[in-house]
Amino acid sequence: MRGSHVVGEAAVRAGCRFYAGYPITPQNELPEYLSARMLDVGGTFIQGESEIASINMVLGAAAAGARAMTSSSSPGIALKQEGISYMAGQELPAVVINMMRGGPGLGNIAPSAADYFQATRGGGNGDYRTPVLAPAGCQELAELTFVAFDLADKYRTPVMLLGDGLMGQVMEPVVFPDFIDLESLPKKEWALTGCKGREARAIFSMYLGQKGELYYHNLNLQEKYDRITASEQRWETVMTEDAELVVIAYGTAARIAESAIEELREEGMRAGLFRPITLWPFPVAPLRQVAKKCHKVAVFELSLGQMLEDVILSVGERAEIYFYGLPGGIIPTPADVAEFIHSSQKADGKVGRRIEV
């Protein structure tokens, strides 16, 4: 099944009954899939007049208690940042799918991964964080879509699933999780349902009070972000146990790196892979442990070095850090990445570069 369709089917199975989005390549197969699938399950599909309208429709649907989702690609996600910031402040759950493309601006429609900063740091205003899940392949697209909805509801926050144009297009076999029973989900006691039999409720992000209301609101949000950081880090390690060099990559880049590492292992080189699955919260401590043992890490990204900053913050001087990145939607082959790994091993600077900390 095609990656974009996988996300659509997984969302429906995870209980999503509201989708709004605006066409943008390379993720159009997702809204196209849902435009028909939502009808089957009695849900709502709306093609909004813009990305901004779409994210705000999701905001409304979330306030009314629905599992709601929108999707877009990089420049469209830029437009959705307003709504994401509001939902963070209002503590509304929603899932935002981003199939990244090349930037800045209109860039191109190739599968870049230059929006790590946009996803993990956010372009919206305020002291907020957005959990970001980075799948590497169709099976994980399905599973992490479920995780995204659960995290969103559990912590009442927008959650982003960060793929790229390649992942949205690629076809792989998938085993879907079963449909969840919507009735089995915890009741959303905060949702707006009309005030019959109770006090009227308001959902808002503005705190104008002079008694530190916004100060305490932010502290409460931070306490939540601390809980997410403590409990929700996800990562995968491949052959890191005996590795003398560990490649750090996520998403499509991790798939390419894994192929390269398999080849190098056959040649007898002890290489491994550390793949962050949550980009925020970044798996700092697990990476630090791996770096301490291997003494050499090689960061590979489909950008000019964004996750690299989190690697530097995590690893510091515990290991030598090498970096190789390609901008503009260029996808290197496993052989190219193998060259980078060799070059990092020899520290000859032929492919990529040493990062001085």
């Binding site: 009954r17 509201f18 709004a20 709502t44 709306i46 909004g48 007049e49 813009s50 901004i52 309208a53 779409s54 705000n56 429709m57 999701v58 905001l59 409304g60 649907a61 979330a62 306030a63 009314a64 208690g65 629905a66 709601a68 307003e82 709504g83 509001y86 209002q90 707006l192 349902t193 009309g194 005030c195 019959k196 039999g197 009227a200 409720r201 308001a202 959902i203 808002f204 992000s205 503005m206 104008l208």
Partner: protein
């Protein structure tokens, strides 16, 4: 005469309004508009099934005054948010309450497309021809010649563009069933406004489509007029750009005179 008859309550606070002091300036139209909305909801028995969306602007804190569920929308996005709510809860009564900057400038796209989709939502559009909350800047609806802090000396079409008549634009949309422009500028006009609001609410209850009531509303503070002169300015000046009356009515309702 028995006691019950002697002390019959003839006027009080509608249940759809909270017992709260508003932050609105003296003579502001919002307080009256809030009351009209609340009275109509009470009379139609809608309070407990209503979900409202206030604007960003002077009425941003309306959830402190209205006694029903409300969710804040980003500036201009009220009708997108309301769309999400109504589609998830079609049996609830969904209304937006928006000013001219919110509805006719930053939220123009959301407004027109919600209307054109025929969303079953009722919108109260407060047109005071000025940005009130931010301190009197030129609004999309500011009249030609009207003084504002960003059109000093008066709005000049060549420099600042012309006032927008969004109600007529909304009326063109096929999904819109009812648009009327009223004014908070006399007892008679206020009564007419209440009728229009109630009719708009009925449109939603009957599932007809989108409806909107525009209220020309006094802003004495930023117009730099007394409340009394502000009413007179609406009646003498503002109605020339924004004539009162029904702009579109495809409801098929027979109005009770």
């Amino acid at each position: 005469m028995n006691a019950e008859l002697a002390y019959k309550k003839v006027f009080g606070r509608p249940e759809s309004l909270k017992d709260a002091h508003t932050h609105y300036c003296p003579g502001c139209g919002h307080s009256i508009a809030h009351r009209l909305v609340a009275e109509c909801l009470d009379e139609l028995g809608l309070r407990e099934k209503t979900i409202g969306v206030p604007p960003v602007g002077c009425a941003v804190l309306a959830y402190n005054y209205f006694n029903f569920d409300m969710v804040e929308a980003p500036h201009g996005r009220a009708l997108a948010v309301a769309t999400g709510i109504k589609r998830v809860e079609p049996d609830k009564f969904v209304l937006t309450y928006q000013g001219d900057g919110d509805l006719a400038a930053i939220g123009t796209a959301e407004t027109i497309h919600a209307a054109n989709r025929g969303e079953e939502i009722s919108t109260i559009f407060i047109n005071n021809a000025i940005y009130g909350m931010t301190g009197g800047q030129m609004a999309p609806t500011t009249l030609v010649g009207q003084d504002a802090t960003t059109s000093p000396g008066g709005r000049v079409p060549k420099l600042h563009g012309r006032p927008i008549d969004i109600s007529r634009m909304i009326a063109i949309c096929e999904g819109t069933v009812y648009v009327e422009r009223c004014a908070i500028s006399s007892i008679k006009n206020i009564r007419r406004a209440k009728k229009a609001i109630k009719k708009s609410f009925q449109c939603q209850l009957d599932g007809l489509g989108f409806s909107m009531v525009e209220l020309l509303s006094p802003c004495p503070t930023n117009w730099k007029l007394t409340p009394k002169d502000a009413w007179a300015w609406i009646n003498d000046v503002m109605v020339k750009t924004y004539p009162l009356g029904v702009i579109k009515d495809s409801t098929g309702y027979e109005d009770k005179k």
